[in-house]
Symmetry: C2
Subunit: 264 residues, 2 copies
Amino acid sequence: MRRLQLLAVLLALLAAAAAAEPVLRAVTDVPSSASSDGGGGGSDSDALFCDSWMLSVETGNAGPWSAIPARCGDFVRAYMEGERYASDSAVAAADSLAFAAQALASGDGGARPAWVFDVDETLLSNAPYYAVNGWGSQEFNETSFDEWVAVAQAPALPSSLKLYNELQGLGIHIILLTGRSEFQRNATQVNLFFAGYRSWEKLILRQPPDIGKTAVQYKSERRAALEAEGFKILGNSGDQWSDLLGLPMATRSFKLPNPMYFIS
Amino acid sequence: MRRLQLLAVLLALLAAAAAAEPVLRAVTDVPSSASSDGGGGGSDSDALFCDSWMLSVETGNAGPWSAIPARCGDFVRAYMEGERYASDSAVAAADSLAFAAQALASGDGGARPAWVFDVDETLLSNAPYYAVNGWGSQEFNETSFDEWVAVAQAPALPSSLKLYNELQGLGIHIILLTGRSEFQRNATQVNLFFAGYRSWEKLILRQPPDIGKTAVQYKSERRAALEAEGFKILGNSGDQWSDLLGLPMATRSFKLPNPMYFIS
């Protein structure tokens, strides 16, 4: 009887494999648009490639890069201006809140549960700056970006502001850990208030000895210091993998989307 | 003169901020489709949500999950059957090869450079099985999946086969590290040959003491053993974060797409 059952399963699977021919064909076709950056043209193939390129950035597969691919300029603008950026950010925030609530409920937060937030493209959106600077297709200009920071009018990423308030409501200590420098503390505080962020436990900026360190090194050192102070870092939200990787890591890390630029 | 320049930059930025009003609006609108799984309906809002849901899976934001969201069944089928799966996989493979070539050129590989590949949804595609099992919308059925494995006819993921041959051509040692069990060694070898994988350094399967370990624990232990044997694990390719996370990690990890199922 058991052998008959197995035989039946096997026959069903072979029938299924025959029925699945179109699937096999799809898996076997590699579209030429993805295999090289140059050839083919056409906006459909650009859209397909740029979707795949952005996924490679978001998963960290892409590694270091200095400018968005030339063929993806329109894609990045459309992504940032359209509803996908807002939707992707909102889902990341919902995942974060669900984890935080569950972690606290199971007692994983300890006496001083904490959440680390990056600032740029995490709490604050620099979309207005990048909108007039090619959405990442132009080389980074530190002078003009620092001027934009000094203006202190970057809006909140709405889903991050909502998450921020929800985490505070759960009693989680909020730590802001940014690659911005100490001389930008005042502008950063003013901008955070302007955008609706009302209070935080610490705002950590790069000090003179941190200049020249990679973000991974600088941020890992600060997470280690936070743990040494007794904080349990439950979550870490950042738009760069360099916000999230390196030891010690948070219990869970949340990658926010950013197809505009890469920081190592 | 310098102050005048800064003033000009400031004025340009303020003008830009005014011109960027539509951008600010886009950043401030959160589409209702992303904020809850239930409401709204409409296939457009499903498409937007499911794109964001898949990104959350691919970045690891989603955490553990047991079935694809009900509203994303059509999305996952279309993704797997269409060109996006092939394109996303091809870009991941291209990223992997670019890194490997550069790492070897700069001498990072040492005497025994190695690359770890997962098997299911990494070297082999089980799309024909999932095509007739709801593309991840049905609960995992170990009996029928093991039967499918025994049939040994899963096709290669084409971009992975190409990468595999290219890495071997560079002289990199290929290690296969799978969650499959030792009793499936023969079927796995037969299937790998059937799919075009001709040779490898090691094929590591779960031994009896590994049953019940998480993939992170089991695979991390095996990577540690490989390092102890003198292999330098340059790269690691897997469709699950549990293939990639845990210490020691490869120099670079490459996440292949898989919206069908989650393994912890």
